[in-house]
Protein backbone atom coordinates (compact mmCIF):
# COMPACT_ATOMS: atom_id res chain seq x y z
CA UNK A 1 0.00 0.00 0.00
CA UNK A 2 1.28 3.44 -0.89
CA UNK A 3 2.16 5.70 2.03
CA UNK A 4 0.89 8.82 0.33
CA UNK A 5 -0.85 9.04 -3.02
CA UNK A 6 -2.18 12.16 -4.66
CA UNK A 7 -3.84 12.56 -8.00
CA UNK A 8 -4.20 15.92 -9.74
CA UNK A 9 -4.17 17.52 -6.30
CA UNK A 10 -4.86 21.23 -6.61
CA UNK A 11 -5.27 23.88 -3.95
CA UNK A 12 -6.19 27.42 -4.84
CA UNK A 13 -6.59 29.85 -1.99
CA UNK A 14 -9.17 32.56 -1.99
CA UNK A 15 -7.64 35.44 -3.88
CA UNK A 16 -6.46 33.15 -6.65
CA UNK A 17 -3.12 32.05 -5.20
CA UNK A 18 -2.36 28.53 -6.40
CA UNK A 19 -0.41 26.61 -3.79
CA UNK A 20 -0.62 23.19 -5.43
CA UNK A 21 -1.21 22.57 -9.12
CA UNK A 22 -2.20 19.15 -10.48
CA UNK A 23 0.16 17.36 -8.15
CA UNK A 24 0.24 13.63 -8.83
CA UNK A 25 2.66 11.60 -6.79
CA UNK A 26 2.82 8.19 -5.14
CA UNK A 27 5.35 7.45 -2.43
CA UNK A 28 6.14 4.16 -0.73
CA UNK A 29 6.81 3.72 3.01
CA UNK A 30 10.23 4.79 4.24
CA UNK A 31 11.87 8.14 4.80
CA UNK A 32 10.55 10.59 2.26
CA UNK A 33 12.10 13.98 1.66
CA UNK A 34 9.76 16.70 0.45
CA UNK A 35 11.93 19.48 -0.88
CA UNK A 36 11.14 22.80 -2.42
CA UNK A 37 11.84 26.47 -1.92
CA UNK A 38 9.84 28.49 0.59
CA UNK A 39 6.36 28.92 -0.83
CA UNK A 40 6.63 25.83 -3.03
CA UNK A 41 3.53 24.36 -1.41
CA UNK A 42 5.09 22.02 1.14
CA UNK A 43 3.10 23.29 4.14
CA UNK A 44 -0.12 23.36 2.11
CA UNK A 45 0.43 19.74 1.12
CA UNK A 46 0.99 18.76 4.77
CA UNK A 47 -2.20 20.52 5.86
CA UNK A 48 -4.14 18.69 3.16
CA UNK A 49 -2.59 15.38 4.21
CA UNK A 50 -3.73 16.09 7.79
CA UNK A 51 -7.23 16.95 6.61
CA UNK A 52 -6.94 20.50 7.94
CA UNK A 53 -7.38 22.06 4.50
CA UNK A 54 -9.78 20.77 1.84
CA UNK A 55 -8.19 20.48 -1.60
CA UNK A 56 -9.79 22.51 -4.37
CA UNK A 57 -9.52 19.56 -6.72
CA UNK A 58 -8.06 16.11 -7.02
CA UNK A 59 -7.67 13.02 -4.85
CA UNK A 60 -5.48 12.34 -1.85
CA UNK A 61 -4.80 9.18 0.18
CA UNK A 62 -2.71 8.88 3.33
CA UNK A 63 -2.05 5.35 4.61
CA UNK A 64 -4.89 4.29 2.31
CA UNK A 65 -7.33 6.71 3.98
CA UNK A 66 -8.92 9.82 2.54
CA UNK A 67 -8.13 12.79 4.81
CA UNK A 68 -10.99 14.82 3.36
CA UNK A 69 -13.62 12.31 4.50
CA UNK A 70 -11.84 10.43 7.31
CA UNK A 71 -9.69 13.12 8.96
CA UNK A 72 -9.90 11.60 12.43
CA UNK A 73 -8.72 8.15 11.31
CA UNK A 74 -5.84 9.76 9.43
CA UNK A 75 -4.84 12.01 12.35
CA UNK A 76 -4.95 9.11 14.80
CA UNK A 77 -2.21 7.39 12.77
CA UNK A 78 -0.15 10.44 11.86
CA UNK A 79 2.19 12.54 13.99
CA UNK A 80 2.81 16.15 13.02
CA UNK A 81 5.73 18.38 13.92
CA UNK A 82 5.00 21.96 12.84
CA UNK A 83 7.63 24.34 11.54
CA UNK A 84 7.01 27.20 13.92
CA UNK A 85 7.32 27.62 17.66
CA UNK A 86 4.53 25.49 19.10
CA UNK A 87 5.15 24.96 22.81
CA UNK A 88 3.46 26.73 25.74
CA UNK A 89 6.38 28.03 27.83
CA UNK A 90 4.96 27.41 31.28
CA UNK A 91 4.30 23.67 30.95
CA UNK A 92 6.96 21.05 31.45
CA UNK A 93 7.79 18.81 28.50
CA UNK A 94 6.52 15.76 30.41
CA UNK A 95 3.18 17.43 31.23
CA UNK A 96 2.68 18.73 27.67
CA UNK A 97 3.55 15.51 25.86
CA UNK A 98 1.42 13.47 28.28
CA UNK A 99 -1.52 15.78 27.71
CA UNK A 100 -1.16 15.67 23.93
CA UNK A 101 -0.90 11.88 24.14
CA UNK A 102 -4.27 11.83 25.87
CA UNK A 103 -5.72 14.12 23.20
CA UNK A 104 -4.55 11.47 20.71
CA UNK A 105 -6.70 8.96 22.58
CA UNK A 106 -4.18 7.23 24.84
CA UNK A 107 -5.43 6.17 28.28
CA UNK A 108 -4.03 8.25 31.15
CA UNK A 109 -1.29 5.94 32.45
CA UNK A 110 -0.28 4.86 28.94
CA UNK A 111 0.02 8.51 27.93
CA UNK A 112 2.36 9.20 30.85
CA UNK A 113 4.53 6.16 30.11
CA UNK A 114 4.73 6.79 26.40
CA UNK A 115 5.44 10.49 26.97
CA UNK A 116 8.55 9.74 29.02
CA UNK A 117 9.55 7.04 26.51
CA UNK A 118 9.16 9.43 23.58
CA UNK A 119 11.12 12.13 25.41
CA UNK A 120 13.83 9.60 26.24
CA UNK A 121 14.05 8.55 22.59
CA UNK A 122 14.62 12.13 21.49
CA UNK A 123 17.23 12.56 24.21
CA UNK A 124 15.43 14.44 26.99
CA UNK A 125 15.80 12.97 30.44
CA UNK A 126 15.68 14.85 33.75
CA UNK A 127 15.08 18.21 32.05
CA UNK A 128 11.66 17.02 30.95
CA UNK A 129 10.23 18.17 34.29
CA UNK A 130 11.36 21.76 33.76
CA UNK A 131 9.16 24.36 32.03
CA UNK A 132 9.67 24.38 28.26
CA UNK A 133 10.16 28.17 28.31
CA UNK A 134 13.72 27.70 29.55
CA UNK A 135 14.73 25.19 26.86
CA UNK A 136 17.24 25.80 24.08
CA UNK A 137 16.01 25.74 20.46
CA UNK A 138 17.44 22.25 20.05
CA UNK A 139 15.57 20.94 23.07
CA UNK A 140 12.33 22.57 21.91
CA UNK A 141 12.67 20.88 18.51
CA UNK A 142 13.12 17.57 20.32
CA UNK A 143 9.99 18.15 22.40
CA UNK A 144 8.07 18.92 19.19
CA UNK A 145 9.33 15.66 17.74
CA UNK A 146 8.44 13.74 20.93
CA UNK A 147 4.84 15.00 20.89
CA UNK A 148 4.51 13.79 17.29
CA UNK A 149 5.78 10.38 18.37
CA UNK A 150 3.89 9.90 21.64
CA UNK A 151 0.84 8.13 20.18
CA UNK A 152 2.95 5.74 18.08
CA UNK A 153 1.92 6.96 14.63
CA UNK A 154 2.51 5.05 11.39
CA UNK A 155 3.59 8.22 9.63
CA UNK A 156 5.42 11.30 10.87
CA UNK A 157 5.01 14.61 9.05
CA UNK A 158 7.98 16.81 9.95
CA UNK A 159 7.90 20.41 8.71
CA UNK A 160 11.43 21.84 8.59
CA UNK A 161 12.64 19.87 11.63
CA UNK A 162 16.14 21.38 11.53
CA UNK A 163 14.90 24.98 11.55
CA UNK A 164 16.97 27.22 13.78
CA UNK A 165 19.47 24.52 14.77
CA UNK A 166 23.25 24.87 14.69
CA UNK A 167 25.26 22.41 12.52
CA UNK A 168 25.72 19.93 15.38
CA UNK A 169 22.03 20.18 16.25
CA UNK A 170 21.08 19.58 12.60
CA UNK A 171 23.21 16.46 12.42
CA UNK A 172 21.73 15.14 15.67
CA UNK A 173 18.17 15.83 14.48
CA UNK A 174 18.81 14.17 11.11
CA UNK A 175 20.36 11.15 12.80
CA UNK A 176 17.32 10.92 15.05
CA UNK A 177 14.93 11.09 12.10
CA UNK A 178 16.95 8.45 10.30
CA UNK A 179 16.74 6.22 13.36
CA UNK A 180 12.97 6.70 13.63
CA UNK A 181 12.56 5.82 9.96
CA UNK A 182 14.73 2.74 10.08
CA UNK A 183 14.77 1.26 13.61
CA UNK A 184 11.35 2.40 14.86
CA UNK A 185 9.55 1.24 11.72
CA UNK A 186 7.70 4.54 11.33
CA UNK A 187 7.51 6.18 7.93
CA UNK A 188 8.62 9.80 7.86
CA UNK A 189 7.90 12.68 5.52
CA UNK A 190 10.56 15.35 6.04
CA UNK A 191 9.90 18.78 4.60
CA UNK A 192 12.87 20.96 3.93
CA UNK A 193 14.09 23.71 1.69
CA UNK A 194 17.62 22.33 2.12
CA UNK A 195 18.04 19.49 -0.34
CA UNK A 196 21.58 18.72 0.79
CA UNK A 197 20.24 17.97 4.22
CA UNK A 198 17.41 15.56 3.49
CA UNK A 199 19.16 13.66 0.70
CA UNK A 200 21.48 12.25 3.37
CA UNK A 201 18.73 10.43 5.25
CA UNK A 202 15.93 9.84 2.74
CA UNK A 203 14.98 6.80 0.73
CA UNK A 204 12.71 8.77 -1.54
CA UNK A 205 12.79 12.36 -2.69
CA UNK A 206 9.85 14.42 -3.85
CA UNK A 207 10.70 17.84 -5.21
CA UNK A 208 8.02 20.45 -5.80
CA UNK A 209 8.26 23.97 -7.08
CA UNK A 210 5.46 26.47 -7.38
CA UNK A 211 3.00 23.75 -6.41
CA UNK A 212 4.10 21.48 -9.27
CA UNK A 213 5.93 18.21 -9.09
CA UNK A 214 9.53 18.44 -10.32
CA UNK A 215 10.52 14.88 -9.69
CA UNK A 216 9.73 12.00 -7.35
CA UNK A 217 11.91 8.94 -7.19
CA UNK A 218 13.88 6.63 -4.96
CA UNK A 219 17.15 8.30 -4.13
CA UNK A 220 19.26 5.31 -5.23
CA UNK A 221 17.54 5.39 -8.61
CA UNK A 222 18.46 9.05 -8.89
CA UNK A 223 22.13 8.69 -8.06
CA UNK A 224 23.21 5.19 -9.15
CA UNK A 225 22.98 5.89 -12.85
CA UNK A 226 24.91 9.06 -12.55
CA UNK A 227 28.00 8.10 -10.60
CA UNK A 228 30.93 9.05 -12.80
CA UNK A 229 34.68 8.90 -12.59
CA UNK A 230 36.51 12.10 -13.32
CA UNK A 231 39.91 11.53 -14.94
CA UNK A 232 42.41 14.28 -15.41
CA UNK A 233 45.76 13.85 -17.16
CA UNK A 234 48.33 16.62 -17.60
CA UNK A 235 48.75 15.86 -21.30
CA UNK A 236 47.39 13.47 -23.93
CA UNK A 237 43.76 13.88 -23.01
CA UNK A 238 42.70 13.21 -26.61
CA UNK A 239 44.69 9.98 -26.81
CA UNK A 240 43.23 8.74 -23.54
CA UNK A 241 39.70 9.59 -24.67
CA UNK A 242 40.22 7.63 -27.88
CA UNK A 243 41.68 4.67 -26.00
CA UNK A 244 38.83 4.59 -23.49
CA UNK A 245 36.28 4.82 -26.29
CA UNK A 246 38.01 1.87 -27.90
CA UNK A 247 37.51 -0.02 -24.64
CA UNK A 248 33.77 0.66 -25.05
CA UNK A 249 33.64 2.95 -22.04
CA UNK A 250 31.20 5.88 -22.33
CA UNK A 251 33.42 8.97 -22.21
CA UNK A 252 32.51 12.63 -22.16
CA UNK A 253 34.80 15.65 -22.29
CA UNK A 254 34.23 18.29 -19.65
CA UNK A 255 36.88 20.95 -20.07
CA UNK A 256 40.16 19.34 -19.08
CA UNK A 257 38.34 16.44 -17.50
CA UNK A 258 37.21 13.15 -18.92
CA UNK A 259 34.02 11.88 -17.37
CA UNK A 260 33.53 8.13 -17.48
CA UNK A 261 30.35 6.49 -16.29
CA UNK A 262 31.10 4.10 -13.50
CA UNK A 263 29.70 0.67 -14.31
CA UNK A 264 31.56 -1.39 -11.67
CA UNK A 265 34.97 -1.66 -10.06
CA UNK A 266 36.48 -2.91 -13.35
CA UNK A 267 36.03 0.57 -14.75
CA UNK A 268 38.76 1.79 -12.39
CA UNK A 269 41.16 -0.91 -13.55
CA UNK A 270 40.41 -0.28 -17.20
CA UNK A 271 41.09 3.44 -16.87
CA UNK A 272 44.25 2.90 -14.86
CA UNK A 273 45.40 0.30 -17.42
CA UNK A 274 44.78 2.70 -20.29
CA UNK A 275 46.64 5.52 -18.55
CA UNK A 276 49.59 3.21 -17.80
CA UNK A 277 49.75 1.85 -21.37
CA UNK A 278 49.83 5.34 -22.82
CA UNK A 279 52.32 6.36 -20.11
CA UNK A 280 50.41 9.54 -19.34
CA UNK A 281 50.92 11.63 -16.20
CA UNK A 282 47.71 11.01 -14.21
CA UNK A 283 46.66 14.09 -12.33
CA UNK A 284 43.60 12.76 -10.61
CA UNK A 285 41.01 10.02 -10.69
CA UNK A 286 38.05 10.37 -8.40
CA UNK A 287 34.47 9.32 -8.13
CA UNK A 288 31.90 12.05 -8.48
CA UNK A 289 28.65 11.31 -6.77
CA UNK A 290 26.26 13.66 -8.46
CA UNK A 291 24.48 15.74 -5.88
CA UNK A 292 20.77 15.34 -6.24
CA UNK A 293 20.54 19.09 -6.64
CA UNK A 294 22.17 18.82 -10.06
CA UNK A 295 19.56 16.34 -11.14
CA UNK A 296 16.83 18.78 -10.35
CA UNK A 297 18.73 21.65 -11.90
CA UNK A 298 18.97 19.88 -15.28
CA UNK A 299 15.29 19.15 -15.11
CA UNK A 300 14.39 22.81 -15.02
CA UNK A 301 15.44 24.41 -18.27
CA UNK A 302 12.74 27.04 -17.90
CA UNK A 303 14.34 28.38 -14.75
CA UNK A 304 17.66 29.44 -16.30
Amino acid sequence: MALIATESLTKTYRGGVTALAELTVVVEPGIVGLVGANGAGKSTLIKILLGLLPPTNGQVRVLGLDPTTQPDQVRARVGYMPEHEALPPDLSAAELVTHLGRVSGLPRTVARERASEALRHVGLYEERYRPVGGYSTGMKQRVKLAQALVHDPDLLLLDEPTNGLDPAGRDAMLALIHRIGTEFGISVLVCSHLLGEVERICHTLVAIDGGRLLRADRIDAMTSATDVLAVEVSEGTEELAARLAALRLPVRRDGRLLLVELADDDTYDQILGAVAELDLPLHRLDQRRHRVAELFATREPSHV
Binding site: L50, P82, P88, H99, R102, V103, L106, P107
Partner: protein
Amino acid sequence: MSESTGVIHDIGYQRYTGPRLGRASVFGALYLHGLRTVFGFGRSAKAKIFPWLVVGIVIVVAAVVAAVRSQVGQVVMTYAQFPTTMGWLTIFFVAVAAPELVSRDLRSGVLPLYFSRPLARSDYPLAKLLALVTALWLLLGGPQLVMFLGAAFTLDEGPRGVWNELLDLLPGLLYAGLWAAVFGAIGLLVAALTGKRAFAAGGIVAVFLMTTPIVGILAILPARTINELAFLASPMTMVNGVGTWALGDLLFEGGDGLPIGGFGPLYALAAVLLVAGCVVLLLARYRKVATR
Protein backbone atom coordinates in the same frame (compact mmCIF):
# COMPACT_ATOMS: atom_id res chain seq x y z
CA MET B 1 30.78 -9.89 30.40
CA SER B 2 29.85 -8.56 33.82
CA GLU B 3 26.10 -8.24 34.08
CA SER B 4 25.45 -5.79 36.88
CA THR B 5 21.90 -5.33 38.10
CA GLY B 6 22.04 -1.54 38.15
CA VAL B 7 22.36 -1.15 34.39
CA ILE B 8 19.44 0.36 32.53
CA HIS B 9 19.04 -1.42 29.24
CA ASP B 10 17.86 0.47 26.20
CA ILE B 11 14.92 -1.67 25.20
CA GLY B 12 14.43 0.31 22.01
CA TYR B 13 11.24 1.66 20.58
CA GLN B 14 8.02 -0.08 21.56
CA ARG B 15 5.03 0.00 19.28
CA TYR B 16 1.66 0.62 20.93
CA THR B 17 -1.07 -1.89 20.22
CA GLY B 18 -3.41 -1.07 23.10
CA PRO B 19 -6.75 0.72 22.92
CA ARG B 20 -7.20 4.20 21.54
CA LEU B 21 -10.02 6.01 23.27
CA GLY B 22 -12.85 7.83 21.53
CA ARG B 23 -14.14 11.35 21.35
CA ALA B 24 -15.67 11.44 24.83
CA SER B 25 -12.40 10.51 26.54
CA VAL B 26 -10.43 13.00 24.49
CA PHE B 27 -12.96 15.71 25.34
CA GLY B 28 -12.71 14.72 28.99
CA ALA B 29 -8.91 14.92 28.93
CA LEU B 30 -9.06 18.39 27.42
CA TYR B 31 -11.74 19.48 29.90
CA LEU B 32 -9.81 18.28 32.94
CA HIS B 33 -6.63 19.86 31.63
CA GLY B 34 -8.55 23.14 31.30
CA LEU B 35 -9.95 22.89 34.81
CA ARG B 36 -6.45 22.24 36.19
CA THR B 37 -5.15 25.20 34.19
CA VAL B 38 -7.67 27.59 35.72
CA PHE B 39 -6.52 26.73 39.23
CA GLY B 40 -2.85 26.62 38.29
CA PHE B 41 -2.29 22.87 38.74
CA GLY B 42 0.62 21.50 36.73
CA ARG B 43 1.99 25.02 36.41
CA SER B 44 4.36 27.28 38.22
CA ALA B 45 3.68 28.54 41.74
CA LYS B 46 3.11 32.00 40.26
CA ALA B 47 0.16 30.72 38.24
CA LYS B 48 -1.50 29.47 41.43
CA ILE B 49 -1.35 32.76 43.38
CA PHE B 50 -4.28 34.65 41.90
CA PRO B 51 -6.85 31.85 41.54
CA TRP B 52 -6.23 30.62 45.05
CA LEU B 53 -6.30 34.15 46.47
CA VAL B 54 -9.81 34.53 45.02
CA VAL B 55 -10.82 31.08 46.26
CA GLY B 56 -9.49 32.07 49.70
CA ILE B 57 -11.52 35.28 49.74
CA VAL B 58 -14.83 33.66 48.78
CA ILE B 59 -14.37 30.85 51.31
CA VAL B 60 -13.52 33.31 54.10
CA VAL B 61 -16.55 35.47 53.24
CA ALA B 62 -18.78 32.39 53.30
CA ALA B 63 -17.30 31.24 56.60
CA VAL B 64 -17.81 34.68 58.19
CA VAL B 65 -21.41 34.80 56.93
CA ALA B 66 -22.05 31.34 58.36
CA ALA B 67 -20.39 32.30 61.66
CA VAL B 68 -22.36 35.52 62.05
CA ARG B 69 -25.58 33.63 61.38
CA SER B 70 -24.84 30.95 63.94
CA GLN B 71 -23.67 33.42 66.61
CA VAL B 72 -25.92 36.43 66.07
CA GLY B 73 -28.75 34.68 64.31
CA GLN B 74 -28.84 37.27 61.57
CA VAL B 75 -28.78 36.23 57.88
CA VAL B 76 -26.21 38.60 56.37
CA MET B 77 -26.41 37.05 52.93
CA THR B 78 -28.72 34.47 51.37
CA TYR B 79 -27.34 31.69 49.20
CA ALA B 80 -28.58 33.29 46.00
CA GLN B 81 -27.18 36.67 46.99
CA PHE B 82 -23.69 35.25 47.22
CA PRO B 83 -22.88 35.25 43.45
CA THR B 84 -24.26 38.79 43.09
CA THR B 85 -22.17 40.07 45.97
CA MET B 86 -19.07 38.45 44.51
CA GLY B 87 -19.81 39.87 41.04
CA TRP B 88 -16.71 41.99 40.51
CA LEU B 89 -14.43 39.47 42.12
CA THR B 90 -15.81 36.90 39.68
CA ILE B 91 -15.13 39.21 36.77
CA PHE B 92 -11.49 39.58 37.80
CA PHE B 93 -11.26 35.82 38.15
CA VAL B 94 -12.62 35.39 34.61
CA ALA B 95 -10.24 38.07 33.36
CA VAL B 96 -7.31 36.00 34.60
CA ALA B 97 -8.63 32.48 33.92
CA ALA B 98 -10.02 32.89 30.38
CA PRO B 99 -6.79 34.27 28.84
CA GLU B 100 -4.90 31.52 30.67
CA LEU B 101 -7.14 28.96 28.97
CA VAL B 102 -7.20 30.22 25.38
CA SER B 103 -5.00 33.29 24.76
CA ARG B 104 -1.89 31.46 25.89
CA ASP B 105 -2.51 28.66 23.40
CA LEU B 106 -3.11 31.15 20.59
CA ARG B 107 0.15 32.93 21.33
CA SER B 108 2.39 29.91 21.84
CA GLY B 109 1.26 28.33 18.56
CA VAL B 110 0.29 25.08 20.28
CA LEU B 111 -3.04 24.86 18.44
CA PRO B 112 -1.59 23.03 15.39
CA LEU B 113 -0.53 20.31 17.82
CA TYR B 114 -4.15 19.93 18.92
CA PHE B 115 -5.81 20.18 15.53
CA SER B 116 -3.42 17.66 13.95
CA ARG B 117 -4.84 15.10 16.35
CA PRO B 118 -8.15 13.22 16.20
CA LEU B 119 -9.94 16.08 17.93
CA ALA B 120 -13.08 17.63 16.46
CA ARG B 121 -12.53 21.34 15.86
CA SER B 122 -15.50 22.35 17.99
CA ASP B 123 -14.38 20.16 20.90
CA TYR B 124 -11.39 22.32 21.79
CA PRO B 125 -13.34 25.56 22.47
CA LEU B 126 -16.27 23.67 24.01
CA ALA B 127 -14.04 21.77 26.44
CA LYS B 128 -12.31 25.03 27.42
CA LEU B 129 -15.67 26.76 27.89
CA LEU B 130 -17.03 23.91 29.99
CA ALA B 131 -13.85 24.00 32.11
CA LEU B 132 -14.20 27.74 32.72
CA VAL B 133 -17.92 27.49 33.51
CA THR B 134 -17.25 24.62 35.91
CA ALA B 135 -14.48 26.56 37.63
CA LEU B 136 -16.76 29.59 38.04
CA TRP B 137 -19.58 27.44 39.31
CA LEU B 138 -17.26 25.85 41.88
CA LEU B 139 -16.03 29.30 42.85
CA LEU B 140 -19.56 30.62 43.42
CA GLY B 141 -21.23 27.39 44.52
CA GLY B 142 -18.52 26.02 46.80
CA PRO B 143 -18.82 28.82 49.35
CA GLN B 144 -22.60 28.35 49.36
CA LEU B 145 -21.94 24.78 50.43
CA VAL B 146 -19.75 26.14 53.25
CA MET B 147 -22.62 28.40 54.32
CA PHE B 148 -25.03 25.47 54.14
CA LEU B 149 -22.83 23.22 56.26
CA GLY B 150 -22.38 26.04 58.76
CA ALA B 151 -26.13 26.44 59.01
CA ALA B 152 -26.92 22.73 59.01
CA PHE B 153 -24.67 22.03 61.98
CA THR B 154 -25.77 25.01 64.07
CA LEU B 155 -29.52 25.14 63.46
CA ASP B 156 -31.75 23.93 66.29
CA GLU B 157 -34.67 22.88 64.12
CA GLY B 158 -33.41 19.36 63.37
CA PRO B 159 -33.87 17.57 60.04
CA ARG B 160 -36.77 19.80 59.12
CA GLY B 161 -34.52 22.85 59.33
CA VAL B 162 -31.78 21.18 57.29
CA TRP B 163 -34.33 20.30 54.61
CA ASN B 164 -35.47 23.92 54.45
CA GLU B 165 -31.88 25.06 54.16
CA LEU B 166 -31.35 22.63 51.30
CA LEU B 167 -34.39 24.03 49.49
CA ASP B 168 -32.78 27.46 49.82
CA LEU B 169 -29.37 26.22 48.73
CA LEU B 170 -30.41 24.50 45.48
CA PRO B 171 -31.78 27.63 43.76
CA GLY B 172 -28.63 29.41 44.92
CA LEU B 173 -26.48 26.79 43.18
CA LEU B 174 -28.60 27.02 40.03
CA TYR B 175 -28.24 30.78 40.08
CA ALA B 176 -24.46 30.37 40.46
CA GLY B 177 -24.62 28.17 37.35
CA LEU B 178 -26.30 30.97 35.41
CA TRP B 179 -23.60 33.42 36.48
CA ALA B 180 -20.93 30.92 35.52
CA ALA B 181 -22.44 30.32 32.08
CA VAL B 182 -22.89 34.00 31.21
CA PHE B 183 -19.51 35.15 32.56
CA GLY B 184 -17.67 32.16 31.18
CA ALA B 185 -19.13 32.47 27.67
CA ILE B 186 -18.41 36.21 27.40
CA GLY B 187 -14.96 35.93 28.96
CA LEU B 188 -13.81 33.04 26.80
CA LEU B 189 -15.08 34.66 23.60
CA VAL B 190 -13.19 37.89 24.33
CA ALA B 191 -10.04 36.00 25.33
CA ALA B 192 -10.18 33.88 22.15
CA LEU B 193 -9.87 37.01 20.03
CA THR B 194 -6.31 37.80 21.05
CA GLY B 195 -3.12 35.98 21.92
CA LYS B 196 -2.00 38.70 24.30
CA ARG B 197 -3.15 37.85 27.79
CA ALA B 198 -3.01 41.44 29.06
CA PHE B 199 -5.24 42.62 26.19
CA ALA B 200 -7.64 39.76 26.79
CA ALA B 201 -7.87 40.49 30.51
CA GLY B 202 -8.39 44.20 29.83
CA GLY B 203 -11.01 43.42 27.20
CA ILE B 204 -12.98 41.18 29.54
CA VAL B 205 -13.03 43.74 32.36
CA ALA B 206 -13.90 46.44 29.82
CA VAL B 207 -16.96 44.53 28.53
CA PHE B 208 -18.41 44.51 32.04
CA LEU B 209 -17.12 47.94 33.06
CA MET B 210 -18.29 49.80 29.94
CA THR B 211 -21.77 48.32 29.89
CA THR B 212 -22.59 49.27 33.47
CA PRO B 213 -22.92 53.06 32.82
CA ILE B 214 -25.24 52.32 29.88
CA VAL B 215 -27.62 50.67 32.32
CA GLY B 216 -27.42 53.75 34.52
CA ILE B 217 -28.29 56.08 31.66
CA LEU B 218 -31.14 53.94 30.33
CA ALA B 219 -32.55 53.52 33.82
CA ILE B 220 -33.10 57.27 34.28
CA LEU B 221 -34.60 57.97 30.86
CA PRO B 222 -38.19 59.24 31.17
CA ALA B 223 -39.86 56.17 29.76
CA ARG B 224 -40.98 53.31 31.92
CA THR B 225 -40.52 50.55 29.33
CA ILE B 226 -36.96 51.63 28.65
CA ASN B 227 -36.27 51.79 32.37
CA GLU B 228 -37.56 48.27 32.84
CA LEU B 229 -35.50 46.97 29.94
CA ALA B 230 -32.40 48.97 30.91
CA PHE B 231 -30.82 46.10 32.82
CA LEU B 232 -30.46 44.09 29.63
CA ALA B 233 -27.62 46.37 28.60
CA SER B 234 -25.07 44.86 30.97
CA PRO B 235 -24.45 41.15 31.57
CA MET B 236 -24.31 41.59 35.34
CA THR B 237 -27.64 43.39 35.64
CA MET B 238 -29.16 41.05 33.05
CA VAL B 239 -28.36 38.04 35.21
CA ASN B 240 -29.72 39.94 38.21
CA GLY B 241 -32.89 40.55 36.22
CA VAL B 242 -33.28 36.83 35.54
CA GLY B 243 -32.71 36.21 39.25
CA THR B 244 -35.37 38.76 40.22
CA TRP B 245 -37.86 37.04 37.97
CA ALA B 246 -36.98 33.42 38.74
CA LEU B 247 -35.94 33.54 42.38
CA GLY B 248 -37.70 36.63 43.72
CA ASP B 249 -37.71 36.45 47.50
CA LEU B 250 -34.72 34.13 47.74
CA LEU B 251 -32.53 36.69 46.03
CA PHE B 252 -33.94 39.94 47.35
CA GLU B 253 -35.29 39.14 50.76
CA GLY B 254 -37.85 41.72 51.74
CA GLY B 255 -36.75 43.98 48.91
CA ASP B 256 -38.27 44.37 45.50
CA GLY B 257 -35.36 43.25 43.35
CA LEU B 258 -34.65 45.01 40.09
CA PRO B 259 -37.62 46.98 38.67
CA ILE B 260 -37.97 44.92 35.52
CA GLY B 261 -41.77 45.00 35.43
CA GLY B 262 -43.26 42.10 33.54
CA PHE B 263 -40.23 41.51 31.37
CA GLY B 264 -38.80 38.64 33.44
CA PRO B 265 -39.16 35.97 30.73
CA LEU B 266 -37.54 38.36 28.27
CA TYR B 267 -34.53 38.64 30.58
CA ALA B 268 -34.26 34.87 30.76
CA LEU B 269 -34.53 34.60 26.99
CA ALA B 270 -31.91 37.32 26.56
CA ALA B 271 -29.49 35.51 28.87
CA VAL B 272 -29.95 32.27 26.93
CA LEU B 273 -29.45 34.05 23.62
CA LEU B 274 -26.37 35.84 24.95
CA VAL B 275 -24.72 32.56 25.97
CA ALA B 276 -25.77 30.84 22.73
CA GLY B 277 -24.49 33.76 20.66
CA CYS B 278 -21.13 33.71 22.42
CA VAL B 279 -20.80 29.95 21.81
CA VAL B 280 -21.65 30.32 18.12
CA LEU B 281 -19.07 33.10 17.70
CA LEU B 282 -16.51 31.07 19.64
CA LEU B 283 -16.99 28.07 17.34
CA ALA B 284 -16.74 30.29 14.26
CA ARG B 285 -13.54 31.78 15.62
CA TYR B 286 -11.96 28.33 16.05
CA ARG B 287 -13.08 27.13 12.64
CA LYS B 288 -10.92 29.92 11.30
CA VAL B 289 -8.02 29.39 13.67
CA ALA B 290 -7.82 25.64 13.07
CA THR B 291 -6.89 25.89 9.41
CA ARG B 292 -4.03 28.32 9.92
